[in-house]
């Protein structure tokens, strides 16, 4: 029972990580159809931001709190730069975007190596986030996992509300649904694109801060995450956030179950097989906007 609950929570927390790293992509890939392979390096930028801030702010808790908004801005700015310099020229060629941003990710990785050195760096987590909360019945819940889950849920809620309620969100949705009409209606589509990219990349920065609690902080940390993140969005279906949310948690639980019943390697392969099978059933992902104008 303890193990079962532990595994369930593990699955949910894997899902939360997947969600957090995929959320930005759900915006840039899902809404704008831009395949940004450098998304993983934006995550890395968020993690390094935490590291740099800790050099000046000594309290681990404070530095983490400060890092969240700062990393959002740092990664978001990198995203805007990328959008303005390269991606803008490539909206008509999504596959080429994939290759170009892959090149960008290589450059950013090497840059990180030259600036911060090849070895991983360490950040100090607040003591609050290195322990766990004991529940009745011998169950425990790790606090860093809980923090990430909360952060992921908060990000989803904030993003959904922003898209639904703010004028900016309405503009983003207008551009996604009918770019030409939006342009004709007086929306500066180029600026909306930049803003969307800023938010999407900023979310990667947030994910980077959160991941310092879980994993390594090094030049290649992003590459390990990017494929998983894309698979979440592909399976979730583009155009809507709820697909990515559901799929992230579903894949997390599937992965945790597979890991428990078989081995980690086999579980990874199983998840891949499940994804291919799922796409046989719903090639456009879990949710899609079905309208004619988008075709």
């Amino acid at each position: 029972m303890t193990v079962l609950f532990g595994q369930l929570f593990t699955g949910v927390s894997i899902g939360a990580v997947l969600l957090l790293i995929a959320l930005g992509l759900a915006l840039t890939f899902g809404q704008m159809n831009v395949i940004n392979m450098a998304h993983g390096e934006f995550i890395m930028a968020g993690a390094y931001t935490t590291y740099v801030l800790q050099q000046t702010i000594t309290g681990a808790g404070w530095s983490l709190l400060v890092a969240l908004p700062v990393a959002f801005v740092v990664a978001g700015t990198m995203g805007v730069l990328l959008e303005v310099l390269l991606i803008r020229r490539l909206y008509a060629r999504p596959l080429d975007t994939l290759l170009v941003t892959w090149g960008v990710s290589l450059i950013l990785q090497q840059l990180a190596r030259d600036v911060f050195g090849s070895p991983n760096v360490q950040t100090r987590a607040p003591d609050l986030l290195t322990g766990n909360i004991a529940l009745p019945g011998g169950l425990t819940v790790a606090t860093n996992r809980l923090f990430i889950l909360t952060l992921a849920v908060a990000a989803v809620v904030a993003l959904t509300l922003a898209l639904r309620l703010t004028p900016l969100g309405r503009r983003i949705r207008a551009v996604v649904q009918n770019r030409d009409l939006a342009a004709v209606s007086g929306i500066a589509t180029a600026r909306v694109d930049r803003t969307t990219f800023f938010i999407g990349s900023g979310l990667a920065g947030l994910a980077g801060v959160a991941l310092t609690l879980l994993g390594p902080i090094g030049p290649t940390m992003g590459t390990n995450l990017i494929i998983d993140a894309f698979l979440v969005v592909v399976v979730g279906g583009i155009g809507q956030l709820k697909g990515s949310v559901i799929v992230a948690f579903a894949l997390g639980v599937l992965q945790a179950t597979g890991e428990y019943l078989t081995t980690l390697s086999v579980a990874k392969v199983l998840v891949f097989v499940a994804i291919v099978a799922f796409l046989q059933w719903r090639p456009q992902g879990l949710f899609t906007l079905r309208t004619r104008s988008l075709a």
């Binding site: 159809n33 008509a92 999504p94 596959l95 080429d96 090149g103 494929i227 796409l279 004619r292 075709a295």
Partner: protein, 416 residues
């Protein structure tokens, strides 16, 4: 550069000469033959004389990568399928060959060295046994990758998984394949892969003379694959493939099943990668998961992009050039190579989608096609009013604009 798509033997049309797809003026069979002879002379006479044993063995390795590139040129350049998992097929071919050579090294009834060390197996696993026979192993180097490509391809293409979705799936396939291979330490050699291969059908690979022999086999195979690719590109099928790339839905309305058309190109590309992997093994003496994962798979693509994805020779020259640059540069500036590799992706793909082949053709074609000169100024959504971009598709949100990717790339590439 030889002709790429010029259909021969049809009504000549001097009036439309400037617009013709005939890529080099008068690039007919005679010119192609001359180019072929020149290539053969370079590979068979000049290179062996001019290069040291070490450099020649490097060239052999590059030529193997070039074979993969030919396949990618067909699947991606002509067919619009960006396969980021070509390493899988390269690996399947390589492992099939290496398994046979390991068994041959071990001798009849014996286990390969690594199995005794790490697997503690008493007998050969069942799936290794057929590879003892060259009559099984050799065809398997090509047929096995083709079969896997057929299986995966018929699943995803029929369900209209394409564009970025296909690229990401193919990448995930490479990841899954590596994990699978690494996990089976005792029977696949794990991360080490299959190494220390001594002989190649009875000939000792330690002998430099035999290494030359391997080089000649590789060079000959490359030329044969080029001929095959040329035939494929110039055939009716080759035209159909371009049509599918530029307007998959339109082709469907003409009564074709685009899934089968794409499947053929994907399977052929897989077969070429498999053959390349098989020949890579005697040339380099090792095959391991490190050569089939995500990173090597995408490195295959960069050579193709640099050379010119939609041309016949572009991918070959691009692959060799990139591999050579990697060796040369990493000998001097190890960290710098990563920067350069990244820059190549960015600059070539973003600003020269036709690759170097387009650069070569630029001078000649200037002024012909106003669209071409302005490609870099083309802003978003100004996809050439082509097919595909306007055809509604079942289930909205299909990355239809991907077809535009092919268009833009091909516009410059095809004419070089």
């Amino acid at each position: 550069m030889s002709t790429v798509t010029a259909p021969t033997g049809r009504t000549p049309d001097p009036a439309a000469g400037g617009r013709r797809r005939n890529l080099l003026p008068g690039a007919g069979p005679a010119r192609a033959a001359a180019g072929f002879a020149l290539g053969a002379a370079l590979l068979f006479a000049v290179a062996p004389l001019a290069l040291s044993d070490f450099r020649l063995s490097l060239l052999a390795k590059y030529l193997c990568l070039a074979m993969v590139a030919i396949g990618i040129g067909i699947a991606w350049g002509r067919g619009g399928m960006l396969t980021l998992g070509q390493g899988v097929f390269f690996g399947l071919g390589g492992y099939a060959m290496a398994m046979h050579l390991k068994l041959a090294d071990a001798g009849p009834g014996e286990l390969p060295d690594f199995m005794q060390l790490y697997g503690q197996l008493d007998e050969l696993p069942w799936w290794w046994r057929p590879f003892a026979s060259p009559w099984f192993a050799l065809p398997a180097t090509v047929l096995l990758p083709m079969a896997v490509a057929f299986g995966l391809g018929s699943l995803v293409f029929r369900r209209k998984v394409r564009g970025a979705y296909f690229a990401i799936l193919s990448q995930a396939l490479a990841m899954a394949m590596v994990i699978l291979l690494v996990g089976q330490q005792g029977t696949t050699g794990g991360t080490n892969g299959l190494t220390d291969i001594q002989g190649f059908f009875g000939y000792a690979l330690t002998d430099p003379v035999n290494q030359r022999m391997v080089y000649f086999v590789i060079a000959g195979t490359l030329l044969a694959l080029l001929l095959l690719a040329r035939q494929l590109i110039q055939s009716r099928y080759g035209e159909l493939l371009v049509a599918v790339r530029d307007g998959e839905e339109r082709v469907r309305f003409l009564g074709y099943d685009p899934a089968s058309v794409k499947l053929v190109a994907y399977v052929v590309a897989a077969g070429m990668a498999g053959l390349a992997g098989a020949l890579f093994v005697p040339a380099v003496g090792i095959i391991s998961p490190a050569m089939i994962g995500i990173v090597p798979s995408i490195e295959f693509v960069i050579g193709v992009a640099v050379g010119g994805r939609a041309t016949l020779l572009g991918p070959v020259l691009g692959a060799v050039a990139v591999a050579w640059a990697k060796t040369a540069l990493s000998e001097r500036f190890p960290g710098g190579w990563t920067y350069l590799q990244g820059l190549m992706f960015v600059l070539v793909v973003a600003f020269l989608p036709g690759g170097l082949a387009a650069l070569v053709g630029l001078g000649r074609q200037r002024g012909d096609d106003p669209d071409r000169r302005r490609w870099w100024r083309r802003r978003r959504r100004q996809v050439p009013a082509g097919v595909g971009t306007t055809v509604p598709v079942e289930g909205a949100g299909t990355p239809e604009a991907t077809d535009g990717a092919g268009l833009a790339g091909a516009r410059t590439g095809v004419t070089a």
